[in-house]
Symmetry: C2
Subunit: 506 residues, 2 copies
């Protein structure tokens, strides 16, 4: 009934003594490819090395086995050029060979050009120009991300000025966080994220964005993309998305099982008044504070229509508040979520305020979605990286986040003003009350592709409305999307010059 577990060869008596085995070759003997190896014992500055020592009849003894193993490891590319090898003393202890044997092997391979002696670093793998032989072909598809050269002037929308990432503040916050957190914080944690961050986010979002937020209803995500992906997996079917909108987000929805239908927009924002004709939509994704890409703020009547639709249909509103903090002139527009917290999932992000590479986002969820989303998160990546969460919590709690947002707001506002003042003649900027990008309409007869081509000739990259429609059409309005938040602080004036020169020809 209760069989004891069969004894594994691994657990032979004597192995629990704790001393490293002195026997280098495989216990199983023979020339078969037994995956034994050796490992250098620990020592300050020393490194681990896995070697495959095969010894058998006719194979020339242990020194030859060591030389073969080293040669194979280098030739196959497994040991990369520049890799450090263990000292001869350490490797001798581990393999059971004499130190003299190991040194001789190292010397032989150095003479052959596989290894090199580095003063202060011991023995390293030599830099080699010959391609490694005897290795399974590594040919594969092209790298996922293109290696295209960046444009000389970049006014494409979507990124903040990353040269202004607050490195010192982030480091300080990280140090304070790690200095004060309990050890258990380094263990597997709550899929919703660190409670420290959810508490300060609840306070911060309530205070600055008018969001009804409780820590229990917040889920921290590895960026906005993951939040959208989780919501679609949990709550959607058919998802209405603004047209024009960001194609990448449409693809995120599709890849996570959603079906995308276009929701038209106009000068008052998304046509939420039309939602009555979308009987099958399970969710609607909107950018109410600053429509992406037109820059329009969702009109109050459209907000009312949207929440009324959600209440009547039980559908979910997904609020993408990607740049809600960057409001310049008018009173800021509070989050739509505050009107109907049970029907709106509010999604925010540190991507535009700090930097996209942090992959830090947050969702404030209707109560009925907290458990399912947390579960989906658990089976997606367990939870978002905790050290980054704790650093952000510190930054917000110490008001460093507020300060950085305000400083950034001033800088981006100056850029916005500069853009507006430089645009003359038939070109006017729209969507300028907020955010990091503006929509510049084109006068009759001027086409987006022509402007883009002229811009490219000047080394300038910019966005167009054409990049954003769900479906192309000759009836769509034309316009440029100018990401004035993108360039570094020192690069912006020149980028603006290039834009003006581009438009000057129109």
């Amino acid at each position: 009934m209760h069989d004891s577990w069969p004894t594994s060869p691994d657990d032979a008596p004597g192995n629990a003594g704790g001393r490293p085995r002195q026997d280098g070759p495989s216990r199983r003997g023979g020339p078969e490819r037994a995956p034994t190896g050796s490992r250098a014992a620990s020592g300050a500055g020393d490194v681990d090395l896995h070697l495959d020592l095969r010894v058998g009849p006719g194979s020339g003894g242990r020194r030859a086995a060591l030389e073969r193993a080293l040669r194979d490891a280098v030739r196959s590319g497994r040991l990369a050029p520049g890799s450090r090898l263990p000292s001869s003393r350490r490797l001798a202890v581990e393999t059971g060979l004499s130190r003299g044997t190991v040194k001789a092997a190292y010397d032989q391979l150095t003479a052959e050009g596989y290894l090199a002696a580095r003063r202060g670093s011991g023995t390293v793998v030599a830099a080699r120009s010959a391609a490694p032989a005897g290795r399974e072909t590594a040919a594969g598809p092209a790298p996922a991300s293109g290696a295209a050269a960046p444009p000389r002037f970049d006014l494409r929308p979507g990124s903040p000025d990353v040269t202004s990432f607050p490195t010192s503040a982030w480091l300080r916050a990280t140090r304070r966080a790690l200095g004060s957190v309990p050890s258990a914080a380094y263990d597997y944690g709550d899929p919703r994220g660190r409670i420290e961050l959810r508490r300060v986010l609840a306070e911060y979002l309530g205070r600055t964005r008018g969001v009804f937020a409780e820590p229990e209803r917040i889920v921290v995500t590895t960026g906005y993309v993951q939040g959208l992906a989780l919501l679609v997996r949990v709550a959607a079917g058919v998802v209405a998305m603004e047209d024009p909108g960001l194609p990448f987000h449409r693809e995120v929805v599709r890849r996570n099982g959603g079906e995308v239908v276009p929701l038209p927009t106009d000068g008052l924002g998304a046509r939420t008044d039309l939602l009555g004709t979308f009987p099958q939509a399970d969710a609607v994704v909107v950018t109410p504070a600053h429509q992406y890409p037109t820059g329009v703020t969702l009109h109050p009547a459209r907000r009312q229509a949207l929440t009324a639709w959600a209440r009547a249909s039980g559908g979910l509103v997904i609020e993408d508040d990607y740049d809600g903090e960057f409001r310049y002139d008018r009173q800021p527009v509070g989050a739509l979520q505050g009107m109907a917290p049970d029907h709106v999932a509010y999604l925010g992000t540190a991507s535009k305020t700090l930097g996209p590479a942090l992959r830090l986002g947050w969702m404030v969820l209707p109560p009925r979605l907290v458990e399912p989303v947390a579960e989906a998160k658990l089976y997606s990546d367990f939870h978002t990286g905790a050290v980054a969460q704790l650093a952000l919590a510190e930054l917000i709690a110490g008001h460093g986040y507020d300060r950085h947002v305000r400083t950034s707001r001033l800088r981006y506002r100056r850029r916005r003003d500069l853009l507006v003042s430089r645009l003359t003649g038939p070109y006017r900027a729209g969507g300028i009350a907020a955010g990091l990008h503006a929509l510049v309409g084109l006068p009759p007869g001027v086409r987006e592709e022509d402007v883009r081509r002229r811009a490219a000739g000047l080394g300038l990259a910019l966005g167009t409305l054409a990049d954003h429609w769900h479906e192309p059409s000759p009836h769509h309005p034309q316009g440029l999307i100018i990401g004035y938040g993108t360039p570094g602080e020192g690069s912006y004036p020149a980028a603006l010059d290039a834009l003006v020169r581009t438009l000057g020809h129109g």
Copy 2:
């Protein structure tokens, strides 16, 4: 043909001037709920505050509107107790009210108990014992993670000793990384992860685990769970998983569209010799270095059978090398991936060497899978947090990671030795050659549930084989899974005492 974009009310002339509007109430007049707000202007130490000021006929004027807005914000819970409010001077500028009006409103609400004056912090929201009224019900499901009290002695497998997280080394590595990386590193990046980390991982994995790794074939993931999830979404259907094995990973496979079939194991590891009878398996997940939970090392013949199956069927081997660095007595066993890099996805993690909360894992992929997996990653969370990646790259490049692994290995080996020496009579530990847990077989007549109950009575939590089978059965062998890596360094002796006392009754 080329319609200009309809003008939005947002962009009324004069708004580009840059001065904050002095007009507090809604421009649209009337008592309708117009989502206007006010925001305190920037200033050192000051904070943003979103307020909903509604003024209309019969509503009592601006001061009353301000008091109402503040009262509502506090009562609804949107402004959390302890939140700082802007200074009266700042709020006056932003709302267009006189400073005296704002001060009077603050004083009134302080008298009413909503606000409090804090020396040095200005005005804050008072701590309140009364439940907020007038708010949408926040009742929802119980929090995703239980709030059960941790056991007094924790010998459950699955976590390393998190009290030994190398905080100083991690901070140093973070500082060095942020000090040397270009600004573009803070922007959206390659879904496969930072090239800095992929390069050092390729070198490290080649050197220490015998993995054939090139940076182009590595994808950095937000922990092992995400790696497994992405592989299942891309490459699998039917997934054979070791029995016994970790139930959580089985559920990860199912939640990502996979169908799990059990792969039996014995004293030589997974019964890969049976894979010929699994004609429909698209993938096999194995833990070859140290089977979870039995601790057995996958025998060479079983490794051969597994790679032969993969070559013959085109199926994918998923190698979970979760604790491969912790090998104590015998020569370390190289990764299985080295035998067939085109057929094995090698997955490693920093969870057991540094800490699970970092959510840092990596995959070395067959070339044909790199593009599809990177794409799936892109639409899952774009990429893993970059600062953590860069810190890990620094830690590995500076050999701090090697040092920490070696130091940890020594400490865990001492714990393993202590465990073995304390187990007497009919109890023997198996799977002890490596890793952070051991399997303790039970003598005839002793049942897992009885041991667990006795242990609980002494405040001791441990694992059992019963936790791990795909399906329960009276014919399964019985055994305890002792996670000797879990307790803090100071807690381990007492935990071991509790275990010995528990078993002493048997």
